[in-house]
Amino acid sequence: MNGQSLPLSFKVERLAIHVVLLCLSVATVFPLVWMVTSAFTPNELITAKAIRLWPEQPTVSNFAIAAARHPIWMWLWNSILTSSLITFGKLVLALPAGYAFGRMEFPGRNFLFWLVVATMSFPSVLAIIPTYIAVVKVQAFDTYGAMIIPSIPYIGFYVFYFRQAFRSLQGSMFEAARMDGADVWRQFWEIAVPNVIPAIAALSVISFMGAWNIYLWGQLVLEDTFKKTLTTGIAAFADLDGAEILWGPLMATSLLSVTPVLVLFLLAQRFIVDALAPGLDEK
């Protein structure tokens, strides 16, 4: 055996791993493939025959039926609007906080840091009841604000992550800026932020995908059918039609709600994987 070729057992092991992973990957995406197939199958044919891998008589009529019964394009716009604003809000809160925790010395730093980061471990359902009462009391029920504002403060992971990113920057850049008389704000905005743009991009994608999929809270505070997001609209859709669920249009709407996050994920896949790694180096 020379150094170039790998031993046979190793090749067999690799092949076996490929086979196992391929089977598991296919099994994992199967429910979604089936959703896509159903979305393009005429509604009358969906319940007729369960086993099919490709739509018979492919059609987009399900989208038309869904759009006729529900304001799905409005839902799409609402999803885009609320997800963008939630993401923006998270960045506005978490970036400066991460910077201060990572690069500034001040009394109470560790306490405040853990106060913020500990919220990573709060099940979100716990805060729902008092928050709901507050939303009703300030008469914000069924507004975009009620959907957006209480969703922003879940920033534990973001602050933790940005602290790591700012910490890993070279101190000499900040020294030089200080020599030039840059104040703390300019050091943050002109030196630190431009150097963590990959981190900002990765967390924006993660936040956007998370906000897009907010379900329980949205279902609770959004009642007006024109204010719903796609993911909450789908639930209304299924309930509204009761026993006679129109599976085709439902699948079409589900597909519509998946597509933006799917595209975003495929574009940013590498980014997201890298983004999740460095934050874990220390406790």
Partner: protein, 299 residues
């Protein structure tokens, strides 16, 4: 105003201006509601009525003697017994396999496919699965029939509902832990694998003696966060698939809270449940930190 003094003051204040909004946001929107729950748990009140009565521990007493609460508490233990080991071990095995093919194009494809369910909304996952599991004409039953097996009622069968919810919760969420494990494995220097192979170590020995000790910080992180994620995620799946049924057999303690609060408007009852959950979660976390500190290797 005295210029140097002003600059000194801004420098001292600056950090608080930077962290202030974030700290205020979590205090108001996350710690605030928990303090609110603590207060509500001692009151008899629903949003519709104007009278609020102080009832002390009555909500807690009522909760513990509530049969639905007891059932959902047992169910939650069952969910944890199934999902915690599954959510830790299976993603690790997948990550080890993915890591060993990480150079190849197919490696990226597998990773993307396996992670896909994680990016879905619970409502979408629920729609996809309720269609597959549909007792009347769902695909799973068609397959069973094709093999001459009896049909199943899946999530509408009292004995299978909890397992169905577990399976779907697992499907929907294992991707995150898988990516975290994968990231940790990617940080293990590649030279160590070469060295151990030259020393004649098996794949298993390499994993046990080199990789595993080096990924303990991630193991610690995952072990702490998995519990909360599971508790939270099950609620989403239950809400779209079973609504806790049939007869409460798939309900969990957080879903019980959700129903008491948001369907029956029993805020006092629901808040008492919230307090119990907080106490349990904090104790478990505290224990994990105590155990974790002794075991974790920081490189």
């Amino acid at each position: 105003m005295n210029r140097p003094n002003f600059r000194r003051t801004t420098r001292l204040l600056a950090p608080y201006l930077f962290v202030g909004p974030a700290v205020l946001a979590v205090l108001i929107f996350l710690y605030g509601p928990i303090a609110g729950s603590a207060a509500l748990s001692l009151l008899d009140w629903n949003l519709l009525s104007s009278d609020i009565n102080f009832v002390g521990a009555a909500n807690y007493a009522a909760m513990f003697s509530n049969a639905d609460f007891q059932l959902s508490a047992w169910n939650t233990l069952a969910y944890c017994a199934i999902l915690i080991p599954a959510q830790i071990v299976i993603p690790l095995v997948l990550a080890v396999m993915l890591h060993s093919v990480s150079g190849s194009r197919m490696g990226t494809v597998y990773r993307g496919m396996l992670f896909l369910p994680t990016i879905l909304a619970f409502s979408v996952a629920g729609v996809a699965w309720s269609w597959l599991l549909n007792p009347v004409n769902g695909l799973f039953n068609e397959v069973l029939t094709a093999f001459g097996l009896p049909r199943s009622r899946w999530h509408t069968d009292p004995d299978l509902a909890l397992l169905c919810v577990s399976l779907i919760t697992f499907w929907k969420t294992f991707g995150l832990n898988m990516l975290l494990w994968l990231a940790a494995l990617a940080n293990v220097p590649h030279s160590l694998r070469e060295a151990s192979r030259l020393d004649g170590a098996s794949r298993w020995q390499y994993f046990r003696d080199i990789e595993l000790p080096m990924i303990t910080p991630t193991a610690f992180f995952i072990s702490v966060t998995t519990l909360f994620h599971i508790l939270d995620d099950i609620v989403g799946v239950i809400d779209v698939l079973t609504h806790g049924g049939p007869a409460g057999r798939s309900s969990s303690i957080l879903y019980f809270l959700w129903q008491q609060g948001m369907q029956f408007f029993q805020f006092g009852q629901a808040s008492a449940v919230a307090m119990i959950i907080i106490v349990v979660v904090l104790s478990v976390t505290w224990m994990q930190f105590r155990i974790g500190e002794k075991r974790v290797h920081y490189g």
